[in-house]
Amino acid sequence: MAGFATGDLTALLTSFRLALLSTALLLVLCTPLAWWLATTRSRLKPWIETIATMPLVLPPTVLGFYLLSVLGPNGWIGGLSMALGGAPLAFTFTGLVIGSLIYSLPFVLQPLQASFQATGTRVIEVAATLRATPLDAFLRVVLPLSRRGYLTAAVLAFAHTLGEFGVILMIGGNIPGRTQVASIALFNHVESLDYAAAHRLALTLLVLCFVLLLTLHLANRRERTVGVAL
């Protein structure tokens, strides 16, 4: 990692911490929601799906501005946090995690939902004839069958959070070691015309994301061949 400005390495680490934590939380939070969406016949389904897709459409700065209002001392999440004895959440790492959860939600929800839909409820019914409880069937049958969906969701969420910019620009406040992530550090280099430093950081991010996505595609290919062999 020679040649990096000291702040850049910290910023990369902050980015990784954020991406890792957001991805893990999203996989857990989206599993029940995706399953519900994949299996429900409720009239609410299109409404929930629409809301869950909104982060794809909204410009990140708009999302960021709303978050800045909501996370602050006058907003309801910030207010809730203060009522629980905490502090307002703008300019904190926790605030960034909340922002990332919303921002990357569709990238986890969609692959999981698609994968659950492909599996279908039939496998649970079959498992039930073998006296498996629904939870048992979900954990032992549906989850293993959906591992490609999970892999896709995880990689997309991780890469997308790593590249997150607009939301963090609005709610992060650019504090080194806390809320200054790689994309913001990169932007600062460009803004202050330090193109050499910007190139180094940009190339690092580019290579990282390329490797991540390539891993995903290679893994997906292998899964497919294994699937056929089974």
Partner: protein
Amino acid sequence: MRHLCGIVALLLAGSAAAAELHVAVAANFLDPLQKLTPIYQRASGHRLLPSAGATGQLYAQIQQGAPFDVFLSADRERPQQLETAGLTVAGTRFTYATGRLVLWSSKAGALGSDGAAFLKGGGYRFLAIANPETAPYGLAAQQVLQKLRLWDVLNDQKKLVTGESIAQTRQFAATGNADAAFIAVSQVIKPDGSFEGSSWLPPAELYEPIDQDAVLLARSTEQVAARDFLRWLRSDAEALKIIRAAGYIVKP
């Protein structure tokens, strides 16, 4: 009918020598420029089309050949550097306004009577400044904090949050997320000259003057109209009155 005649006359007069001037303007001066625009358009027939941004961004865009006629910067350095690079028309650069820095909070009474005491007291969670590397008002804020011997302390305590522009910096304080922010007087001054919320004007000796320079760009295809606009901006009594009312100092 008289209105119609007036409009037709205006259109005719306009079409004779009307030019469209693309003005790259530092975000802090966008508001005053928008007030100046209709007055100048009436007086000259030329149209002003402002593109606002951070001075650093506009500078980079001009370097890359952006099609602007006039650059209203938030500092002296950027126009000077463009001049050195031969991208401006020699002899057209001048200081059109001198900005004033203000420490501002959206809450009335939050800063007390002495802003320096408020800053030193440390009874706040976040203080917002614009990025000192790209925004002149951010640099001025840094100078004030350094003179008060607070710069290193606040950085260590991670109390400083940085906005990319003074517009964003103001937003941090306006939403209550930052307790106070160093921004431009022009952003919080009311038409009657008073301020919203609470404010403190740091003494001028705590920071370098924020001289904002204007310059005519070499690649402009409307040199005559652009020269006319710069002359007007520098000398028209009504224009100077508007600039002063917006919270700037205009040096004679």
